[in-house]
Point group: C2
Chain length 149, copies 2
Amino acid sequence: MKLSTKGRYGLRAMFELAKYYGKGPIPLRNIANKQSVSDNYLEQLIAVLKKEGLVNSVRGAQGGYMLAKQPKEITVGEILRALEGNIAPTDCAVEDEEFTCEREKHCVTKVVWVKIRDSVNEVIDSITLQDMIDEEKKLSNNDGYMYYI
Amino acid sequence: MKLSTKGRYGLRAMFELAKYYGKGPIPLRNIANKQSVSDNYLEQLIAVLKKEGLVNSVRGAQGGYMLAKQPKEITVGEILRALEGNIAPTDCAVEDEEFTCEREKHCVTKVVWVKIRDSVNEVIDSITLQDMIDEEKKLSNNDGYMYYI
DNA sequence: TATAATTCCTAGTAATTTACTTGGGATTCT
DNA sequence: AGAATCCCAAGTAAATTACTAGGAATTATA
């Protein structure tokens, strides 16, 4: 029941892009360095996010990536589904999948898996990148440090 | 974000035991056959469940396994946690784990993972084996077939 | 126009985890 | 005594994950 590095690195990268939203393209290498991930690997992840229409890119020197929409318009759910596929604890509980299992019709365990699926999706679809930005602000205000100007 | 066969086979096996609760020990082979799983493999799973105090066993001929508590006293959460470990989408979100990450303190993505973790645990802790038995009864009543005596 | 900085693309591979298989010992009922 | 069962440990095959490697295409800027 663990997410892969795709989802983890990917969400963090998107969060970084969100923080720079509106400030022009950010080279992937910057983000990769910050996260101690190889840029080649992060590239593969962001390629998927681009294909899904969540980020745009500018090629060439001074190029980079940026969110394709405002942070408040991108949910964690969209990001995770892009990278990990439909989120479900079993194949039989994947939405819109033509997986079949002979039990299917009367399967009580499937009912359990579907409940897990729905609850996870409800959570991730309810959090936007903007929410995360706001949350981070809150965290750094409550951490016991005082920030003086 | 998929469960392994441990959780899937294990929950189904426990559900079978629940249906036979109070009727004496059931040989594992019966359940394994029913589920088209090798008995040796299912044995390994049930050994864990036994160690966790969820099932009891009787050795020798006419022996087998049985639930250690009433179906209404065993939750899906207990079963899945026994078999899969604490349920969390990332290591940093595992409860009672002394995993550390340098971000940790101000990590907004961790906040997301914790929300997912909590929502999954809430679901699985709220479903008992008895609930599943009741649900199955409901399913077979609503499936379009009529059962005449 | 040359150079550097970047995205884009594909193939390969190392590491890890999962999902078993194998085989035999111990116990208990009949 | 024999059959049916649980108990236990080690090994292995298959799949998945997590990268690495390397180079082509594009574009800003000096």
